[in-house]
């Protein structure tokens, strides 16, 4: 009696299984990519923007223009809510059930790291993970998305210690891979100038009250205080500094932090704060690529305001399309990797001309901004991280 439902289930499963194509995810008419991302949990807004309003926005543009060598491109997403075990299950499902060609823009270090080994084993490309820790470096099938922390650090220290001649640095950092990888890179780059961090304070993830840490850092009297945090606690740090009247330090945000949400949360406490920006201003930049992005957003998702998360996803869609175009009609995972490695001086109209090469890094530069009247005002041109 109990056996029959099981057998029926078994039969249903076998019949429902899709036929395996020559190259997974590529048919005569379609290319399917996918990703596990946060659509619930702490990074839900970011996740939704980078995928459904970012990658998919660019894919809509491409498909309306005839697709990639006659194939439409489509993305499948599953929600992991920032939980690594769900990311593992989702990724297995994408690769083994949905037969995706590649994984695109998964978010957050723990979920990304949890799937790294498996994807490399299966030889499935992991494209442009949205996280900044260098743990993803040095793999054949992984291409970095966000500027990695050591490159960010080099630009920040060269600018602050080199160009601006600051001498006394402190850092308030999130106590995880994101924060610690930045801290290590700061120490290394400061050492080149014969300097070191004079004070560091850590914040556990999920904590929003950082007043104790701000008081301790205040006592150390640094000229520059790095904020290696996420928007919530970072905004609290700025408001707390305002409350205790600590004015003689320059607060500096890292690349992943310099975003509109952080500004909106900190309101007037953010005035005069500086930071490294990894993207041109999505709302106001007159760069050709960013104007086009805004125009497409208005056309396809008129209710969604432009922001740097959807811009990052849009950019990921653009890079994938460029590589798949270069790989030609005979698209395979290996030919995609070769095509990505061959990209040189590619004009995106959003970031400086892009060269990927054997280091597999797609974003290597940022520029310096200062918050004035609630917006990021550029202070420099693109900085170098080589």
């Amino acid at each position: 009696m109990i056996v029959r439902p099981f057998l029926l289930l078994l039969l249903a499963v076998v019949l429902a299984a899709p036929r395996v194509a020559a190259e997974p995810g590529v048919t005569d008419t379609e290319i399917v990519v996918g990703g596990s991302n946060s659509f619930s949990g702490p990074l839900a807004y970011t996740g939704e923007q980078i995928t459904k309003f970012g990658v998919d926005l660019y894919f809509k543009v491409v498909n309306d223009a005839g697709g990639i060598h006659g194939r439409k491109v489509r993305a499948v997403y599953y929600d992991d809510g920032y939980r690594p075990q769900d990311a593992v299950a989702n990724t297995k499902k994408l690769v083994e059930q949905d037969n995706v060609f590649a994984i695109i823009i998964p978010q957050g270090s723990p979920p990304v790291v949890a799937t790294l080994e498996y994807l490399e084993q299966q030889k499935v490309p992991m494209l442009f993970p949205y996280q900044s820790s260098p743990v993803t470096r040095g793999r054949r099938y992984v291409f970095q998305g966000m500027t990695l922390s050591d490159r960010s650090s080099r630009m920040m220290i060269d600018y602050l210690a080199g160009t601006r001649k600051f001498k006394k640095f402190a850092a308030l950092y999130q106590d995880d891979e994101y924060g610690k990888s930045f801290l290590a890179a700061f120490e290394k780059d400061l050492a080149r100038y014969g300097l070191k961090l004079t004070a560091t304070e850590s914040v556990k993830r999920g904590v929003t009250d950082v007043s104790a840490q701000i008081a301790k850092l205040h006592a150390a009297r640094p000229e520059v205080t790095f904020l290696v945090l996420v928007p919530g606690p970072a905004a609290h740090a700025l408001r707390e500094r305002q409350r205790i009247g600590w004015t003689d330090t320059l607060m500096v945000s890292t690349g992943p932090l310099t975003d509109e949400k952080y500004l909106a949360l900190a309101t007037d406490a953010a005035n005069g704060v500086e930071g490294l920006s990894l993207w041109p201003d999505p709302m106001t930049s007159d760069l050709k690529g960013v104007q086009l992005y805004r125009a497409y957003m208005l056309k396809y998702f008129p209710k969604n305001e432009p922001n740097r998360y959807s811009l990052a996803g849009y950019f990921a869609g653009m890079l994938f399309t460029e590589a798949a175009m270069r790989a030609g009609r005979n698209l395979t995972r290996d030919s995609l990797v070769t095509a990505l490695e061959s990209i040189k001086g590619f004009e995106t109209g959003i970031l400086p001309p892009l060269t990927i090469g054997p280091d597999h890094e797609t974003q290597k530069q940022g520029f310096w901004v200062r918050v004035e009247k609630g917006r990021f005002t550029p202070l420099t041109d693109w900085l170098k991280s080589e």
Binding site: V14, A17, R205
Partner: protein
């Protein structure tokens, strides 16, 4: 009749990896792991009426214990690692169970809920050992000469352990201990009057339940390959409770079915987790209203009347 059902079930379980696409092998492993937890939870809730919303915490302890043992002492044979994961968790279960003797119903649920949060905080703050928020990668284990590198090999390990624990649970429930636990559920006063030691049996239920969940945690670490405190949130504990309510309180077969239903449902809802609480809530309410004994008793009732039934 019963032998045929068992034989059929065994054929399905053993033949599963060869008949279905690869992903369903992984999914079946998860179902088996959740089934072990559900049986453990059912021994506590279904048999002694102690509700726990902290089983994600026990699962985390078992998972981290097994992972850390695999990393620090790779030479320890896998069965011992799993056993150790179960024993460590059982010890924690004992430590939690004794003070919880004073609590009942809602208060017990709250205490166990808090326990789940405490475990997650402990993992975060022991980051020199657990790598905190960054998560812990679990190296592939070996069973004697065989590396457990594929989903299929891990599946066979998981179902073997699950089968052993199911047999053990059947033996516990049909023994003197099981009857004592049931007596406690029905009426604590009556049970005590008949000579059942309330404190000892309630604590025993906690310890056994924690042991089952700890072993499941060890298997979870192996199958998923990556642990992080984010994995063991309160929603996972709620999922476990949902499994035994949907499956059937006080039924081992029901625990397995509840685990299968909830795990499969979770998997098919992977695209829209925002609706999960809504759908799960509806299922819970519906099964309490229309199927108070869970799937197990619904099946039982649907069966044709015969002398001896499974």
């Amino acid at each position: 009749m019963r032998a045929a059902a068992l034989a059929g079930g065994a054929v399905v379980v053993l033949g599963w990896p060869w008949a279905v696409p690869r992903y369903f092998v992984f999914l079946a492993s998860l179902i088996a792991i959740n089934a072990i937890v559900a049986i453990g939870l059912n021994l506590l809730t279904g048999y002694t009426n102690q509700l726990s919303f902290g089983h994600a915490g026990f699962l985390a302890i078992g998972a981290y214990a097994a992972a850390l043992l695999t990393i620090q002492a790779p030479l320890v044979p896998l069965p011992l690692t799993l056993l150790a994961a179960g024993l460590v968790t059982a010890a924690v279960g004992l430590a939690l169970g004794v003070p919880c003797l004073r609590l009942e119903g809602l208060y017990l649920a709250m205490a166990t809920l808090a326990f789940g949060f405490v475990v997650v905080e402990a993992i975060l703050n022991l980051d020199w050992l657990t790598r905190g928020n960054d998560g812990l990668r679990v190296p592939a284990a070996r069973l004697g000469p065989w590396p457990l590198a594929t989903d299929t090999s891990r599946y066979y390990l998981v179902v073997t352990v699950a089968a052993l624990l199911i047999v053990a649970a059947r033996n516990i429930t049909s023994s003197r201990t099981g009857r004592a636990l049931l007596a406690l559920r029905e009426s604590e006063i009556a049970a005590q009057a008949s000579g059942v030691n309330l404190a000892a049996y309630k604590t025993l239920a906690f310890v056994v339940s924690a042991f089952y969940t700890g072993v499941a945690g060890g298997l979870f670490a192996l199958v998923v390959g990556f642990l992080s405190p984010d994995s063991f949130d309160v929603f996972l504990s709620v999922d476990f409770v949902a499994m035994i309510i949907v499956g059937g309180l006080g039924s081992i077969l029901g625990s397995v079915m509840g685990a299968a239903v909830i795990t499969t449902l979770n998997d098919s809802l992977a695209g829209f987790q925002s609706y999960r609480p809504l759908i799960f809530g509806a299922i819970l309410v519906a099964s309490m209203l229309f199927m108070p004994g869970g799937i197990a008793s619904a099946l039982h009732r649907a069966q044709p009347r015969q002398g001896d039934r499974a």
